[in-house]
Amino acid sequence: MRIAKFKEWLSLPGGFGIFSGILMLGIMIILGILIPNFGKYKSDAFVGDPFRPPSFQHPFGLDQLGRDVMTRTFSSVGIDLGVAFLGVSIPLIIGTIIGILLGLAKNKYVLSLVGSIIDGINAFPLLIIAVAMLTFLGSGLKSVIIILAITNWARYARISRTRAVVVSKQNYIEAARTLGFSKRRIVLKHIAPNVSSETVAYALSDFILVIVVVSGLSFLGLAAKPPMAEWGSMIADGRAYLAQSWWLVIFPGLALCWSAVSLSFIVEGISRRDRGM
């Protein structure tokens, strides 16, 4: 019975995409928990000769300092996905709240002022403004999270504001008002859930972008610092030895791709389900 239901769900539009995306992401997260914690090696331990190619003992080979690449690749899962998760969820919350407030605000000056600031922030490519702010804030993963919170909320605020304006004109809001519900209750119980469904959907696709930005900043040497294992900085480290030791770059890169692709399958599946095709 359960299986039949699941099969039905899977056959709906986008079902296969969502399922395979969640499966892929789940595998990555489980390996990211298991291998660094219960594996044979530590992520920063020197376990053999440098540049040992992939073998049965070290499936992903050893890096320039003789550390196990597989352990390092999977201990990055928590860092990359964790930083990206914070870098998405904090702006999501801030942006959604500001957007709702703007959508309900009546003061013209406040509206145009905040609206312009939002447009101004959104005018910069995310990577560029992040790089520029890192100059002043100092590099590091903590700075990256702060910068994403400062800059990325504007994209969410724009979406949330447009949605809040639409929602607040709907009949059910009118109905709630006629029923004499308090303003607070209307905003919290009726407007916020309808607005946040939209911003959360955007957050999922933003997650991919932020993973790419975080690893890109690490690649430039501005986020994760050695000896920390992180995909972007592992790829940057391996770059110098690309000609002899391809495994230093390819495995962290594939892990990065795998995670981003799994998310993009989920996003695509959800959007297909919404459109019903």
Binding site: S116, I117, D119, G120, I121, A123, F124, P125, L126, L127, I128, I129, V131, A132, M133, L134, T135, F136, L137, G138, I150, I208, V212, S215, G216, F219, L220, G221, L222, G232, I235, R239, L242, A243, W246, V249, I250, G253, L256, C257, A260, V261, L263, S264, F265, E268
Partner: protein, 309 residues
């Protein structure tokens, strides 16, 4: 028509002003003093001197006034590292980046139009699934990894592209530029053909397409005017946005391929805490993006008056 375009121009100018405010604010919203951070906080007189040079003395309004006036006089400040004027640095590094983007864009357009329309027109499920899957993978892959795989294949294995370096003369420089252009083109083609694909799928359902078929419009005319033209507006808007994102991505791409463009200049400036250069380049990036999105919106409006800009 004119009124809409001018209205959009007004918005571009006002966003441009805020871009200026943000480039100004970036150096100031962070706790602590950039001048003493750079000098290490030893020599009080030197710090004061640097504060003056960075326009960090006086009230915030005074600082902002000086900043705007300097910009209006065309002065972006002076590099702390080399003493060259920031304007000069930008003028010498920007062209390479712009060529990189323009060529990738042209190639991407040439490739996307047949790919996007043909796949949408055929509408066969296996092809559509393969197309969606492949482009989704390309788009989810960071450009530096694509570039690395490119280097691994074309530099390490077959030696078609030099390892690093750059020669500015015309025929020699192509040797260094073709691989970055290919990487950029690959990414842009995926985005543009995807949007064109869904846009053509939508156009296919419009009534005028059926009318065109019934009226027996010639094949070429049918393709250009009935299918492509109505589908282009969303693609153009996306294209202008994409060019801005690509501009941001050159920061990484130019670092990998050691090309002396504006992106690499910015990374170098960040690593050496060269504040005026970072600020100047940030402003230029913002202004270019605002300009691109203005142009994109206007072209989209010219193609399809139903578009709201």
């Amino acid at each position: 028509m004119l009124r809409t375009v001018f209205g959009r121009l007004g918005r571009a100018v006002s966003v441009g002003f805020w871009v200026m405010v943000i480039s100004f604010a970036v150096m100031r919203i962070i706790p602590g003093d950039p001048a003493s951070a750079r000098l290490g906080g030893v020599d009080a007189a030197a710090i004061e001197q640097l504060r003056k040079q960075l326009n960090l003395d006086g009230s915030i309004f005074h600082q902002f006034k000086t900043y705007i006036l300097d910009l209006l006089h065309g002065s972006f400040g002076v590099s702390l590292q080399t003493g060259r004027s920031v304007k000069e640095i930008i003028a010498s590094t920007l062209p390479l980046t712009v060529y990189l983007i323009i060529f990738s864009t042209i190639f991407a357009i040439i490739l996307s139009i047949p790919i996007g329309t043909a796949i949408a027109w055929s509408g066969r499920a296996p092809i559509v699934y393969a197309f969606r899957g492949i482009t989704a993978v390309i788009l989810a892959t960071p450009n530096f990894f694509i570039a690395m795989v490119g280097i691994l294949i074309f530099t390490v294995r077959v030696h078609w592209s030099p390892v690093f370096g750059y020669e500015p003369q015309f025929p020699q420089n192509l040797k260094y530029l073709w691989l970055p252009v290919v990487v950029n083109t690959l990414i842009m083609t995926s985005v543009i053909s995807r949007v064109l694909f869904s846009s053509v799928v939508e156009t296919k359902q419009e009534e005028f397409v059926e009318t065109g078929i019934i009226r027996g419009v010639g094949r070429r005319k049918f393709f250009w005017f009935y299918i492509l033209k109505p589908s282009l507006a969303p693609t153009v808007v996306l294209l202008s946005y994409m060019m801005g994102t690509m501009l941001g991505a050159t920061v990484i791409l130019e670092t990998i391929f050691t090309l002396p463009g504006i992106g690499r200049e910015m990374v170098n400036a960040v690593l050496t805490s060269d504040y005026p250069v970072v600020q100047g380049i940030l402003l230029i990036f913002g202004v270019i993006t605002v300009f691109l999105s203005f142009i994109g919106d206007v072209i989209a409006y010219a193609l399809d008056r139903r578009v709201k800009i």
